[in-house]
């Protein structure tokens, strides 16, 4: 009886898993299309305007900025040529220098920028665990508030409390 139930269970799990896989595949297929507008938007947010305004390329809006418009046109041209994202970004770096990228790359010394926050996070977690362990093993210096009543006074209160609350 239990073997039959196990088989039924296993089949049900398999059906669910197959269904989930199929659904995921369909959804991924649906998501695979990357319209030009989205790609332009994504790439434009990976670049900075070089006019000195300090803004992301697609967000540079100050009146009369010709640099951002020219850079946007260059990006559109490169996309129309069929260049990949990496080639487009490399082209901009070649022309405007590394500061044109809105975030550090994951190569060379720039890797440190990304790694450090993670390292600090892990180190902080380890530190907390060590602190918690140390606290758990510590004998309290004084179990009561130092400013509160003296132990003998509390003993008296406890005695009275037990007496009065005894059923």
């Amino acid at each position: 009886m239990s073997i039959a139930r196990n088989v039924v269970c296993r089949n049900r799990v398999k059906r669910w898993a197959a269904g989930l896989l199929l659904a995921s595949a369909l959804l991924l297929m649906g998501a695979a299309g990357d319209p030009t507008g989205q790609r332009f938007d994504r790439l434009g947010h990976n670049l900075m305007c070089t006019c000195g305004c300090g803004q992301v390329l697609l967000e540079c809006n100050h009146v009369g900025c010709t640099t951002s418009e020219q850079m946007r046109q260059e990006m559109k041209l490169a996309m129309a040529r069929g260049d990949s994202d990496d080639v487009i970004l490399a082209g901009f770096v070649g022309k405007y220098g590394p500061t044109v990228l809105s975030a550090p790359t994951t190569t060379g010394f720039n890797r440190v920028a990304w790694i450090m926050p993670v390292v600090i996070f892990i180190a902080a977690l380890v530190a907390v665990i060590l602190v918690v362990r140390a606290w758990k093993n510590r004998t309290p210096r004084n179990p009561l508030n130092p400013g509160s009543s003296a132990p003998e006074e509390l003993d008296e209160f406890r005695r009275r409390a037990r007496e009065e609350t005894a059923l």
Partner: protein, 682 residues
């Protein structure tokens, strides 16, 4: 007049030096009379710096262009409110304003000396030292009363157009009140460490002052964000600019302190940690000021590069050395009184909360300084912009949001699995149902990471709202039953009886409302188009029809507007007027955004200028969902903080039998400062 200004500043410095030296001697010699003279000298510093500030404002209002500062930051046609704002719109004036605020805080501190005369005397000495530093800056490094060389011009250069907005008249004072406000808790903390203050009173005072500083800082940050949104015209409200980041640093450590301080108050734990959090918050406030004024990092908000950097570095190094010295000397005073009993407890939730907030602080600081480090190591700069900060900080913010839901419902010392299940099952199911509903509505978290973050933000926000709501309702029902009233009256009484706890919950509600506003970022869209008379453009459900363009000329600026009729689903709903101005004195253009804000979305229009080839006007339209929630959340946060600062209303005392008193005593001794009644702090 400039001579009077310079003289009063020098007088202020002399008085500060006296307040510091006399205060120090009075403490060493235990001389009350000398201490009183130091206190009065401290009060007189406020009068001297107020006089200097008044002179500068007077010079702005009387168009005294013999002063270099007024020539640089004002002009005749500038409206009165902005002439007043000229006080903090440049390096020298803003440092003077800083000095004045510090003196004003010092005045309040010294006037309230009876709270604890000895502690305040120590704190006042520390404050005098800080005051000396800022007065040295305005007296020698960046004096605001310098007479300009050459003939006096007929008009000044005018105020930066970006600063000529009502929000900009309020934003800097709020931010400065926050920055400078962090000096007071620092002074109390260092004073308590120096004098090995017995008991916990100092931490209560420090907490309240930190909340005051935090309130202003929060207000300043949100106002700055609102200003950026309304004025800069790029459709966003936070750009991770170094100056914005500088304001975030003390905000994050201050937030961490406001949480961990509860562990010290309730359980006598984390004393060292709290002391250093307060020191760090003050140092970061100073560091932020240094960043924006020294030219170390480039920013659109930064003041002109100047030579005051070394002054700040020296001051920060000295402050750190003093803090470290007294910490090493008196650290035995900061020993913890209790041990942690369980990982699943309120204490550990505070620990993790602090870790996350400090990691976020580090990430922001690291990203802000990395370009400098990169240049130093590799010889060339890199840009660390929004993509970096978003990638690093959004996961941290989501973890914090989870803790906001979980933390307040965990008990001190230890929480049972049964209690967790009881408290979280329903909120978790509500959050899950929200997630499912959003996916059904059309949010696809697997398409883009931004959508995933948005979905998680909303789900976790709902989780927090549900847990806080259940806390309010449970407590409200108990009181309502007891008083024979309704649940809303019960919740009102509950809040008034424990303002700190329930004020804190209101702040948390504000945070989640703001976070829901942030979640809308993933769905922002914009479009740009040349728009002639009668032309149309569309964005989302809106259609914009250009009716006309018009011009105007005012003494301070000339302007040009677009008049756009807005249709939604074919029906006209309003007319909007995006504007472009040209400020005459500074010869600079600026945009005035037209924004129609609703609870669901903002239609945000910018008149970006004319196509140089054909002279046709260009309109940029943004459709930004949920921005309204950000500002609504800010209001909740401010209200919650004000509630938390208010004193508790005492419950009508019923005659308590000796039996109940004894029971309460046993409970309280057993739990060591844990609450003994429903209405007390947790």
């Amino acid at each position: 007049m400039p001579q009077i200004g310079s003289f009063t500043l020098l007088l202020g410095l002399a008085l500060s030096v006296y307040a510091f030296a006399a205060g120090l001697f009075a403490i060493v010699r235990n001389d009350d009379r000398l201490s009183e003279t130091a206190r009065r000298a401290g009060i007189a510093v406020f009068l001297a710096v107020t006089a200097a500030s008044a002179v500068l404002v007077y010079a702005a209002f009387t168009n005294d262009f013999s002063l270099a500062y007024i020539r640089q930051h004002s002009n005749r046609a500038l409206p009165g409110a902005y002439k007043f704002a000229a006080l903090w719109s440049g390096q020298e004036g803003s440092l003077l304003f800083w000095c004045w605020l510090l003196a004003a805080y010092g005045l309040v501190l010294r006037m309230r000396h009876k709270v604890d005369t000895r502690l305040v005397a120590h704190a006042a000495v520390v404050m005098s030292a800080v005051q000396i530093f800022f007065l040295v800056l305005v007296d020698f490094a960046a004096p605001p009363f310098v007479i300009a060389a050459g003939a006096i011009p007929a008009d000044g250069n005018g105020l930066n157009p970006l600063l000529q907005y009502p929000e900009m008249v309020i934003h800097p004072p709020m931010l400065y009140l926050g920055y400078v406000g962090m000096t007071v808790p620092f002074c109390f903390a260092l004073a308590a460490l120096i004098m090995k203050y017995p008991g916990e009173k100092w931490i209560h005072i420090t907490r309240r002052w930190t909340m005051v500083g935090w309130l202003f800082l929060t207000c300043g940050i949100f106002l700055g964000s609102f200003w950026a949104y309304k004025v800069l015209g790029w459709g966003g409200w936070w750009g991770w600019d170094p100056v914005e980041n500088a304001s975030l640093l003390p905000f994050l450590t201050g937030t961490a302190f406001l949480h961990s301080v509860m562990m010290q108050e309730k359980r006598g734990m984390m004393k060292v940690w709290n002391m250093w959090l307060i020191f760090s918050t003050f140092l970061l406030a100073i560091f932020g000021t240094f960043l924006t004024r020294s030219g170390v990092v480039s920013s659109v908000h930064a003041f002109a590069e100047s030579n005051i950097g070394p002054y700040f570095v020296t001051f920060m190094a000295l402050t750190f050395a003093v803090c470290m010295f007294f910490f090493v000397r008196n650290r035995s005073h900061l020993e913890s009184e209790h041990k942690l009993e369980s990982l699943v407890s309120r204490e550990s939730s505070f620990l993790f909360n602090n870790v996350l907030l400090l990691v976020a602080t580090f990430a922001v600081l690291w990203g802000t300084l990395f370009p400098v480090l990169s240049e130093w190591v590799t010889g060339h700069k890199v840009t660390v912009g929004p993509p970096f900060f978003n990638k690093v900080n959004i996961p941290i913010a989501l973890c914090l949001l989870l803790l906001t839901a979980v933390g307040p419902l965990l008990a001190w010392r230890k929480t049972s699995a049964e209690s967790i299940r009881k408290n979280f099952l329903v909120p978790a199911l509500i959050a899950l149902a929200t997630g499912v509903a959003l996916v059904a509505y059309g949010i696809r978290p697997w398409v883009e990471i931004a959508y995933f973050y948005s979905l998680m933000t909303v789900m976790l926000s709902v989780l927090v709202a549900a847990t806080i709501g259940s806390e309010f309702i449970r407590g409200g029902l108990v009181i309502a039953r007891h008083n024979n009233s309704n649940v809303f009256h019960g919740m009102w009484l509950l809040t008034r009886r424990n303002t700190r706890r329930y004020g804190g919950y209101i702040v948390h509600l504000g945070v989640i409302v703001t976070m829901i506003g942030f979640a809308g970022v993933a769905f922002y869209q914009n479009t740009e188009q040349e728009l002639g008379f009668g032309d149309k453009m569309s964005i989302g459900p809106y259609t914009l029809v250009c009716r006309s363009y018009t011009q105007d000329d005012k003494p301070n600026y000339s302007s040009e507007w677009a008049i756009l009729d807005i249709y939604k689903n074919g029906k006209q709903i309003t007319t909007m007027y995006p504007e472009q101005r040209f400020y005459k004195a500074s010869q600079q253009p600026a945009t005035i955004v037209a924004n129609r804000s609703t609870i669901m979305e903002d239609l945000y229009l910018v008149y970006t200028g004319k196509n140089p080839d054909n002279g046709r006007p260009i309109i940029k339209a943004h459709l930004n969902p949920l921005v309204w929630w950000i500002w609504a959340g800010a209001h909740f946060i401010l209200i919650g903080t004000i509630v938390a600062l208010m004193p508790n209303m005492q419950a009508k005392s019923k005659k308590v039998s000796p039996r109940d008193q004894a029971r309460a005593l046993v409970d309280s001794t057993a739990e060591s400062r844990a609450p003994v009644e429903a209405g007390t702090d947790r």
